[in-house]
Amino acid sequence: MKRLFAVALGVLTAIGGFVDIGDLVTNAAVGSRFGLSLVWVVVVGVLGICVFAEMSGRVAAVSGRATFDLIRERLGPRVGLAALVGSMAVTFLTLTAEIGGVALALELASSVNYLLWVPVVGVLVWVVLWRVRFAVLENAFGLAGLALIVFAVAVWKLGPDWGALTAEATHPAVPATEDTTTYWFYAVALFGAAMTPYEVFFFSSGGVEEKWGADSLRTMRANVFVGFPLGGLLSVAIAAAAAIVLRPQGIEVSSLGQVALPVLAALGKVGLVLVLIGFFAATFGAACETGLSVGYSVAQYFGWQWGKFVEPLRAARFHTVVLLSCVAGVGILLTTVDPILVTEYSVVFSALALPLTYLPILVVANDRTYLGQHVNGRLANLLGTAYLVVVVVASAAAIPLMILTGAGQ
């Protein structure tokens, strides 16, 4: 019974924790411009993050080594440093975007300008990372993030033409109003939003924080293979809601408020309240995850003590990095840069930074001295190899597409 509860809790937090500011903005933007013609990318991205997270979770559970530990070990200090700088920059950018997202959600709820909320949110995030226990942090925001299910309810309530939606999703084509390069740019952005590297840093380091062992593998797999796809379904619901309400009116998403519009239209004030709770929980939870992930990756590269399972004084360098990233994130937002813009760039750079973090995990998941009988099976290797190709192609295409399309304008 207790085990069942643990599995259910894990799956629920995986669903609620799956969506972050990148998924919210990118899916709504794509839905309002391309309808459901890019849903296939969400499917590819969600399966990809499942494959990647399952491998790194398995390595963490069996050998106790988290992701960046392995990156340094297999790529050496030089290439490892390049991977560290790249993925830290992306994770930090994502942290900045999430803090901005929380502030924007608070602005929607309070009508107080988000810039006044930014320092408050920064302090709150840091306090949570400083003192709140890991399990509380992970579960509370994951469960509250389930409020985003209102997007699915809204889609159902709006009573769309299901046949047309399904046809668009299953027979993807570039809409007549958009050109092909823009379509592919958004495909890369959606892929990056689904396969953000920090999710894997956080997932595998969290496994070490929670002292997973080989007997945790089943629970871990349930989280990944049930929780993540259902979280991905939420992403699709956000896109569908935008496609139904915003696209006919020609509204292109450029603010968090517009992401919430379809729910307001379908469910009124109750819907709006739930959406705001969902926005807050999803972005705040992700701000905590990215903040920790910046610390995890630096500490693991250098071999420093890290983690919330020790008192902060014992991991002074780790907590200093976390503190500095919160301060710097707030600083960037206070330059009045648009948080939505930061989000859009962060998902594209995620796609760019992915290969150097993905490859070492795929390699070590095959190393028998670490994993013994738990090495990759045939299916894991088939998918792992296929995604290595996808990840490399997406990474190579990210910057050229961004330049060609002027970041999707």
Partner: protein, 269 residues
Amino acid sequence: MTRDTSPGRPIEAGTPLSLGLRLLDHQILGREQEMVGNVDDVALEDRDGRLVAVGLLRGPGAWAHRQPGALGRWGRAIWRRLDPREDPRPLVLPLDHVVAVGSAVHVDPWADSLLAGADGLELWLRRHVVGRIPGARGGDHPFGGDLPAVPQKETDLDLAPGAHLLSGLLGARVVRGDGSDAGRVVEVRAVQVTEMSSRVGPLLVTSVVHGPRRLGGELGYREDPRMGPLLLGSALRWWHRHDAETAWGDVRSVDWAASTVHLHERAGR
């Protein structure tokens, strides 16, 4: 707590350990799994014409030494400037204090308190930054014992004069007796000098693997022919198909300054 907390896999007697793959850049763990740094380099010594790995280097000095160009120079300059000692040198932990080598390198209690006490940056941040924030102590942490906050007096654990670094051997040019090029060193293998199960101790270098290509040599596909995924494994094994392993007995001399390994006439074919 379900994870096997017993120290990592003991080295199997007689089986060579690949120093580049299994030791270098690995996490160092103390008695209670506390993280006390990374293996930033390995110290090697000449002993009667044989090359023996004697210690692990840990710290920013050793790390910066392995970074290229300006980054390495700046890294070392900053480290030297910030270190309170007159002539700072990276700390060398004798391999006698290494208990086991698995996915991490496990050290004995003496070594973990030594390593923790020599972490200048960590200690400084404890005293001046993190320790001053309310709530820095407490919580249910698993480690017992006192927390070092003041640097301990250095025992003499500097790199011995005449010692060499593994990072200087990896990547060194290999030249055959007839002067022809045999590529660069991609891996160094070693066995325990005295077979002990309780600790690792000095490791005697038995062979070097060298070949024309270094890229991908650290990924581990040379070790296990079954290691997948099939496509990646075959590609990397093909890429390294010209790699050759030469016994250390067939090495005539090592020119450390020019980072070149000279082989005997008959070897390296």
